[in-house]
Symmetry: C3
Subunit: 392 residues, 3 copies
Amino acid sequence: MSTDLQADASGPGALHGLPLFDHHCHGVTTAALDRPSFEDLITESDWAAPDGTTHFDTQVGFAIRRHCAPVLGLEPFASPDEYLARRRELGTEASERLLRATGISDYGIETGHRGDEILDPAGMAAAGAARAHEIVRLERLAEELMIGECSPQAFRAAYGRVLDERLESAIGVKSIAAYRIGLDFDPARPADGEVDAAIGAWAAHIADGAPVRLDDPVIIRHVLWAAVDRACAIQFHIGYGDADVDLHRCSPLLLTEFLRRTRESGARVLLLHCYPFQREAGYLAQVFPHVYFDVGLAINYTGSRSVEVIAETLELAPFHKILFSSDAFGVAELYHLGALLFRRGLEQVLETFAERDGWPSEERQRIAELIAWRNALRAYRLDAAMPETERP
Amino acid sequence: MSTDLQADASGPGALHGLPLFDHHCHGVTTAALDRPSFEDLITESDWAAPDGTTHFDTQVGFAIRRHCAPVLGLEPFASPDEYLARRRELGTEASERLLRATGISDYGIETGHRGDEILDPAGMAAAGAARAHEIVRLERLAEELMIGECSPQAFRAAYGRVLDERLESAIGVKSIAAYRIGLDFDPARPADGEVDAAIGAWAAHIADGAPVRLDDPVIIRHVLWAAVDRACAIQFHIGYGDADVDLHRCSPLLLTEFLRRTRESGARVLLLHCYPFQREAGYLAQVFPHVYFDVGLAINYTGSRSVEVIAETLELAPFHKILFSSDAFGVAELYHLGALLFRRGLEQVLETFAERDGWPSEERQRIAELIAWRNALRAYRLDAAMPETERP
Amino acid sequence: MSTDLQADASGPGALHGLPLFDHHCHGVTTAALDRPSFEDLITESDWAAPDGTTHFDTQVGFAIRRHCAPVLGLEPFASPDEYLARRRELGTEASERLLRATGISDYGIETGHRGDEILDPAGMAAAGAARAHEIVRLERLAEELMIGECSPQAFRAAYGRVLDERLESAIGVKSIAAYRIGLDFDPARPADGEVDAAIGAWAAHIADGAPVRLDDPVIIRHVLWAAVDRACAIQFHIGYGDADVDLHRCSPLLLTEFLRRTRESGARVLLLHCYPFQREAGYLAQVFPHVYFDVGLAINYTGSRSVEVIAETLELAPFHKILFSSDAFGVAELYHLGALLFRRGLEQVLETFAERDGWPSEERQRIAELIAWRNALRAYRLDAAMPETERP
């Protein structure tokens, strides 16, 4: 086994300068992170690695040591401790270096998860020298109303009002139905009376001291249909991506009937992550005109194997339905790797197609642009809103 | 990224002259197709592509531009409009050129879907200069009886009689239980009384003005068991292949108990398409002596990625249980690509096995022949019926 | 297509001398095997191949002819009949040659399946010149108690006692819940009264003449929790690996809630085989600190495709959670191929990662050792029990 860092596939390739619209991501923390805190942010487990092991012994851990260490001025494959010492030494500059080397032009930042620990959209825009757009978490919006002691009778009207307000600036919404109720939920729009009763029960539960956490299927269906009624871009958590998930209830295929009922609504449905259901997501993106998807999170967490995961997205799915995301949360490394591995993987996959079937260079470039940013502009209806001169 | 059409893998390979038994396909249309009509035939979606996009921006669209354009005398990667203009200019000759370049010796043509819009088996035999065999759609046969106002009391006997008649010339049957009732149907043979009651209810429903469409589970189970009783070759739609499908109810694994109950019946079960469940289908083909499968449709629709899909069929499945099909419908391009991509993919996969494990050339040739046509002759019991001199 | 046995990837590679801890396997038979008996042992089907076909026309059959034939002094790709004649000629030496060429240092031998037909752990240790450790089948232990006419009232206490006794020497336990009740069993610990009632019903059933076969969900849940209470290493049959399986009820994801309830118990859960759910197993191995997995059986049965199956295990799973096994049963060939294909596949996968991302040689070696044996020592808590000098 020989190693040749010069020869490996990590250098600038044909897609190097391509702008990226990262349509699904979160903020980073500016805190100085010790090793346990950092390890906690590079796994979807909510447990420490077993004694004698480390979360660095993973694809994402190796990718950080390989690709992020040089950005911080270290040799590739610096040890985890060296890496983290250097990271703390650089302070916020470490995050800025990692973010600004990504070539990401636009963030679609979801703000509903641990928002107080991470940079907000404006902070991310500044740190990353990019545009930041907000994505509103539907379930969080409902929780905020209940925290504000909205009366059950007023809930539906109030929810519609705050959603309208938020959508004046936000470019879309996200649902975490996957890990609150499972994607096998009833696809029908719930009746108003049903919703009011469920809200009443939830309010009573909160009054009894329960934490404000929305996991009632009727209410979640209501907020989903509120978004459908507004012809929103609606992101759905799919598949891998949270330790709470029952993965067998997170296949995107479970949304089939919901997709049938919404395909003439004007809403677009954006399936996030999707691993290991990327082929199923590609099928839905072919069959339903309003379905888009990405494999963002899985690119980071499969590291040296992400080429194959990306390749599987280019089977049934039309090229105008695939999106880029990093799904980065907490550490700037995940932005960096998300962008780097995506460019590298997409380029390798398109080159394979050129070898097999002679795909012309200009067609490959066109497809890369679709996936990198043009599809996101179309899905989020930003092609009209964003003047040509401001586009990536 | 460079392009070298000379060097790509589309030229004649070692499997170039291999005859093919396309055990599952449909007729082509001879109508002059405008762009919307053509696009409608190169997707499994029943919707137009969203504004500003085209169904040509897909694997199958690129494969048509790459591989079919030269057959019509155009450069590879002619634009969609150039391609369609040339296609209309050539008229029926376009289809004949595409069909006759496939090297397909035998078609197994299913006649139960939009049969009035496409060539019938005799027409296909003439257009393609090949033998055509008929496959009868079980559900359609029942619908034809109801259209003919068969009395509910007479239905079971009549169904058996017409099925026997059709099987005098047809080589097998097909069921679309997958997208009428889901493959999670009760595997038990329904009792006669149950069937008669379901037929009665269906007849009453039709008398009330409902369209004649069989989606009653009891009746579908009855026609399946009628085929089992005749020790037929029974094709099942599996997985991807129709916009009506609930894909999560189309895994071939859901047939497990039905397969257990039929494995001594003499019937052979042929799992069609199977994507993305090709590994599951390979498992069933190993465990059950009467199970065969193909990934026909997925080869066309995954285009430059079809090599990997074909490779996945050669894992658990015995080499004597894998079949070739194009599942082409409507346009001759799908026949052309089905054959071309199958040959190319199978050859590349077998070459990889030779590189890894030194598979001898004559063994690779033998396996290719099994999959290309010999397994179909065995599965359809044509090895006896078709004299040696008439075989591919 | 050309063949170059010198150039193929079957020669000794960088992982050639690596010791292997085969944590899940069974004994081999010393009987002289005729062709039907041998064929029966190289498939998971319990049926003969259809007329005119052979179970040798499979990946495992080709791998035997390619890799085992030379060990017995034949040319690669000797015919099945030549191979079996030579095998009988060599007698027990054939098995010894095949076993001793594996480089396996330790066997984890499960003794609960057809134990009277195959070598016991001591016999395997002698034949293979390796250490043999016992794995106890939980369901078999219960059946043995019932065969010994244990009274229903005494069952729970007796089961605990014999399990404790067996665990004085055995290193772990195995459950076949997958193909007795399906992995969608209720994850809750059953109440004592429920268990006693189920045992009583089972005893009555046996008294009425039923064969002693444990397939009661309450009792199986009881023996699983008995193992959890002992903080055991608990193997679970997952996915492919038995003709009795309903594969759609054998996804490891169905264990999610059971894994949540046991992750602080001290028990380790080892998911066996996992094909075609290896990506799902990798997900569980990331999220749950006590979950390990292998793809042993699938390596043998996918042969020339096993590289890809192994590669899929190295996506989400931490490198300290992946194990080696052959799951060999009956014939020494399966040990031989399990070891050879595992080394070859892991090496090729790690080399791909080096090409893509410059993984250093010493890191690849370290990961290979983790997967080959170190993870097994940790999972089975043998790192303390086995002095450094006795380790592989």
